[in-house]
């Protein structure tokens, strides 16, 4: 009984109290430019369970830095990041890596797939890194959810189109049934039509998962519950249920200001 209680005490506040991603007063400065403008300046944001948020801003606004700090890829200069209920500052590099492969998925603009691995090996990579068996059925299911057929599983990424590669990346991000998916310009290298397809897929496949997408493309917000605008490392405004046209206007304004 005692053990069970202890487990409950440890776990329940995690899901009950905290959102999967929480940033509190996060500041990030790079390298020697300690005196200059920080890439992130006291940003506080919360991404609730199952939410689908776009983080937007012009180049240099700090949106990629926000994603890297939130995902534990980068250590903030100040402030607290809680990912899946755990304060990242208290985790060793190793524990952070384990947390990433067990509970977080990633999709990037490019540089998503290991070129020497086949599609199915790329999808199974987080499981393999976690010393778990990657069942054939699980992989096929994950691939099917993003619309990849059996014939493509044994191919190498270089043999696929850009849109297909992003689907593989999404399948890989989903294979561990993560709590959070971070996507950095996932449609940046795709034509508008393919981009919409990929986003729709992400929205449907990631149902129930917290998704944070960093982008400068207003069209992405069509699928989002919320749009967060960054400017000079600070949160400029937050729009619930954003309309692409409104988002485009805001981005234009931000662009004029800088």
């Amino acid at each position: 009984m005692l053990t069970a209680t202890a487990d409950t005490v440890e776990q329940s506040p995690v899901s009950a109290v905290h959102a999967p991603v929480e940033l509190t007063d996060v500041t990030k400065r790079y390298g020697r430019r300690r005196r200059g403008v920080p890439a992130l300046d006291r940003v506080s944001l919360s991404f609730g369970a199952g939410s689908f948020t776009a983080v937007l801003g012009v180049s240099g606004s700090g949106k990629s830095t926000l994603l890297q700090c939130a995902a534990g890829l980068e250590r903030p200069s100040a402030g607290t990041v809680r990912l899946c209920g755990t304060d990242l500052a208290g985790l060793s590099q190793r524990r952070q890596a384990v947390l990433r492969r067990q509970r977080v998925g990633f999709v990037f603009q490019d540089l998503n797939l290991l070129p020497e691995l086949t599609v199915e090996e790329n999808i199974a990579l987080p499981l393999r890194l976690d010393h778990r068996r990657a069942g054939r059925a699980d992989i096929e299911l994950a691939a099917a959810r993003v619309g990849l057929g059996g014939g493509q599983l044994r191919r190498r990424p270089a043999e696929l189109s850009g849109g297909q590669q992003q689907r593989v990346a999404i399948a890989r991000a989903l294979i561990t049934r993560p709590e959070v998916i971070f996507a950095d310009e996932p449609t940046g290298a795709l034509d508008p039509h393919t981009a919409v397809g990929v986003l729709r897929l992400l929205r449907e496949a990631a149902d129930g998962t917290t998704v944070v997408i960093v982008t400068h493309d207003p069209q992405v917000t069509r699928f989002c519950d919320r749009a967060v605008f960054l400017h000079d490392g600070r949160v400029d405004r937050v729009l619930p249920d954003p309309e692409p046209a409104v988002v485009a206007r805001v981005l234009h304004e931000l662009g004029e200001r800088s």
Binding site: A71, L73, Q93, V98, R100, R128
Partner: protein, 745 residues
């Protein structure tokens, strides 16, 4: 083994080919050296083939040096100790012996009347040689001969008794083979560290992605090391047979230079495959430790950023380590020059060279940045292409450094080994020319004491002395062969100018010895004039003498001078001189005398340095062998790294094509890059090698100034330049042909 770890090796091995090639080279060279070190060097039994057991006086010298476990040292003797002829009769009475006969006339045999070189014993039918040898040993020790040692040989060991030079040569060649292994492994580590470092840094994106999707630092590190281990196995398998072939050639060449017995055969065994793989795996994995650690430690975000612009400046830790190595090299240099003995200085030469190379390797990026700053004026001369090349270099000094470092290491290694050898040879020749002050030199057979008397009796002859090369054993402080001359009692100072620094070298009487300053130094023999010294003659007889003079010109005439009368009968050859040095006299008188003695040859001033020449020839051959190996490894590393680095610039090439650069312009930019790499590498390598070169030259010749002949120096520069140009421009043209965007012209 998990599939994801090794997929890179299996499916896109491109960047790892360099690692495979370099580890194959390391494996081949190690296998070759090992197969020489444990070559089958049993000499043929020859005349003794019919004997079951051969008995000779102990063919090795045993001396107790100092105290402790290694105090008892042994050395094979070049001459027989000799046995009394009566021993044969004694051995004939041992049960099981069919016949025992004393035998003489072997090379290195005794010339004392009544003695024999050895006793050949044949067994009665049914008595095995091993059993008979045991009985003979028992009989000899019970007969009260226990105090004198015997060599009792059966089977293949008889060959060593039949040919004493076999044991001496074997130890020369095998010691060389064994001594080569550590430098080969060390240099391979250097070579591979540069190659693997580049191969890993080129694939940082991949490792960054692995980290992002949840690989721990350890997993990334292990993945890299696993790849390197696989490359090592492949390299070992590739290097195995070439190594076996090279070992065979090496044994052949060493035998041709009297550094191995004539019929030696390289060690050939399937185990060598295991050795090859083992060595190359260890070398590959060790060389990748730093790169793997760095790849694992980089935070994923940093690595993802660095894909755009790789870290421009080396880490402070690397700079600190580099400065530490430079400081260490300076300290070591001071320590080396502070060493009193030449042997001590020579022993520190390799560590000194390696430390200098480590310093250059670590500080490479800083050197590149500095060189790029110095090269700025070239922008005005070279136009847009030079500007482009310099911009690429200054933007990524670390990547450029990975190309410069192998060039510098190649220059430092090859330059210091070659020019040290050249400096010693040059100093030897120079000393030889000034050592002999006699007017004429007679050489030929039968130059004995009687001949010397005849020469001295010729009209006008002011002085004449005979010299003969001799090899003795001495403790300096370990038991080692020391080459020198046996000299007649004549007035040596009137035919030779050996640069006597203390004592007198008029006549050397029995009980006296003269020693070179290098050999007399503390740390070597540690003697001065008046010291008592024991050296061991070729047949093992101790010669106890008082040091009567120290001299400096020892490169040509050897390190000890001993009176011929003390040596006669102990060299395994008839008493006599190799040369008689004559002051005064007339050409006609000498020619008339020579006419009566077939084979005599009268020459004007030359030098009696047969022994030194033989030693120098051996050293030269050994040095050339080492040089060849070092040059091969260095060339592999250089071509490897540069070719990989050039291929990696494909993206820049494509981009240049798109913005309208012509093929010629891009080729010029790559050419400027190659020129920069060559010049920077040459300068850095020359600086690193010069320190060691000066240290070795000072130790071996006593001079601070190394001898650097122009032609080989130019050859080194041109060779390095050609290798760099080939390694950069051949991949460039191969790539540019596949880039249609490049405008013609």
């Amino acid at each position: 083994m998990r599939g994801w770890m090794l997929a890179g090796v299996r499916r896109s091995p491109g960047p790892l080919i360099g690692t495979v090639v370099a580890s194959a080279a390391a494996a081949a060279l190690t296998v070759a050296a090992l197969s020489v070190a444990i070559a089958d060097t049993s000499a043929p039994a020859g005349r003794l083939a019919g004997a079951s057991v051969v008995v000779a006086g102990d063919t090795s010298l045993h001396v107790t040096v100092g105290h402790g476990d290694d105090a008892r040292q042994s050395l094979p003797l070049p001459a027989y100790r000799g046995l009394s002829a009566g021993l044969a009769g004694q051995l004939a009475r041992v049960p099981g012996v069919a016949a025992a006969t004393g035998e003489s006339g072997f090379p290195g045999g005794v010339v004392r009347p009544g003695d024999v070189d050895l006793v050949a014993v044949t067994a009665k039918p049914g008595v095995s040689p091993g059993v008979l040898a045991g009985r003979i040993r028992a009989a000899l020790s019970s007969a009260g001969h226990g105090g004198r040692g015997y060599t009792i040989a059966t089977g293949p060991a008889r060959g060593d008794v039949a040919d004493l030079t076999a044991a001496v040569e074997r130890s020369d060649g095998q010691v060389l083979g064994a001594a080569l292994i550590p430098p080969i492994v060390t240099i391979s580590l250097f070579v591979l560290a540069a190659t693997t470092g580049l191969a890993v840094s080129l694939r940082r994106r991949r490792f960054a992605l692995l980290r992002t999707v949840g690989a721990t630092r350890g997993q990334v590190r292990r993945a890299i090391l696993a790849e390197l281990a696989v490359c090592g196995v492949a390299g070992g398998a590739l290097g195995w047979l070439p190594g076996v072939a090279l070992g065979g050639l090496g044994v052949h060449a060493l035998a041709a230079h009297q550094m191995l017995p004539a019929d030696s055969a390289a060690w050939r065994s399937p185990w060598l495959l295991l050795v090859a793989c083992g060595v190359s795996v260890i070398v590959a994995v060790l060389s990748g430790q730093i790169a793997a650690r760095r790849a694992g430690r980089t935070s994923p975000a940093q690595a993802l950023r660095e894909t755009v612009a790789e870290g421009t400046w080396p880490s402070p830790v690397r700079i600190l380590l580099g400065l530490g190595a430079a400081g260490g090299a300076g300290t070591l240099m001071a320590f080396t020059f502070g060493q009193k003995s030449a042997a001590g200085q020579l022993a520190l030469a390799l560590p000194l060279l390696l430390t200098c190379m480590v310093a250059v390797a670590l500080l490479g990026p800083v050197l590149v940045a500095f060189a790029a700053w110095l090269a700025r004026p070239a922008r005005a001369v070279g136009g847009p292409s030079a500007r482009l090349a310099l911009a690429a270099i200054s933007a990524q000094p670390r990547r450029t450094a990975s190309a410069v470092i192998p060039v510098a290491l190649a220059v430092a290694l090859v330059g210091s080994v070659y020019f040290a050898d050249a400096s010693i040879a040059h100093a030897t020749a120079a000393q030889a020319g000034s050592t002999v002050t006699a007017d004429r030199v007679i050489s030929g057979p039968g130059l004995d004491a009687g001949a010397l008397r005849q020469v001295r009796a010729l009209p006008g002859v002011r002085a004449a002395a005979g010299v003969a090369p001799v090899s003795v054993a001495a403790t300096d402080p370990d038991l080692e062969p020391v080459y020198g001359e046996a000299v007649s009692d004549g007035p040596l100072n009137r035919v030779l100018d050996l640069g006597v620094t203390s004592g007198r070298l008029g006549a050397l009487r029995p009980g006296q010895i003269a020693v070179s300053a290098l050999e007399a130094a503390p740390g070597a023999m540690g003697v001065h004039v008046g010291s008592r010294l024991t050296v061991y003659l070729p047949d093992g007889t101790p010669y106890r003498a008082t040091v009567s003079a120290l001299y400096t010109r020892s490169l040509a005439s050897g390190d000890v001078l001993i009176p011929a009368s003390a040596v006669d009968g102990h060299t395994g050859a008839a008493p006599g001189f190799a040369q008689v040095l004559v002051s005064g006299g007339t050409a006609g008188g000498l020619a008339a005398l020579a006419a009566g003695h077939p084979g005599w040859h009268v020459a004007s001033r030359s030098v009696a340095n047969a022994a030194a020449e033989r030693a120098a020839a051996q050293d030269g051959f050994a040095n050339n062998l080492i040089l060849g190996l070092v040059a091969a490894l260095a060339a592999v590393a250089l071509v490897n790294t540069l070719a990989v680095a050039t291929v990696e610039r494909r993206r820049a090439l494509r981009l240049l094509g798109r913005v309208g650069a012509s093929r010629g312009q891009v080729a010029a930019a790559f050419g400027w890059h190659a020129l920069f790499v060559t010049v920077t590498g040459l300068v850095a390598g020359a600086a690193a090698g010069a320190v060691t070169l000066v240290a070795v030259t000072k130790a071996a010749t006593g001079s601070w100034v190394p001898f650097i002949p122009l032609a080989p120096a130019a050859g080194l520069v041109l060779g390095v330049g050609a290798l760099v140009a080939g390694a950069v421009m051949i991949p460039f043209y191969a790539m540019s042909r596949r880039e249609p965007a490049l405008a013609a012209g």
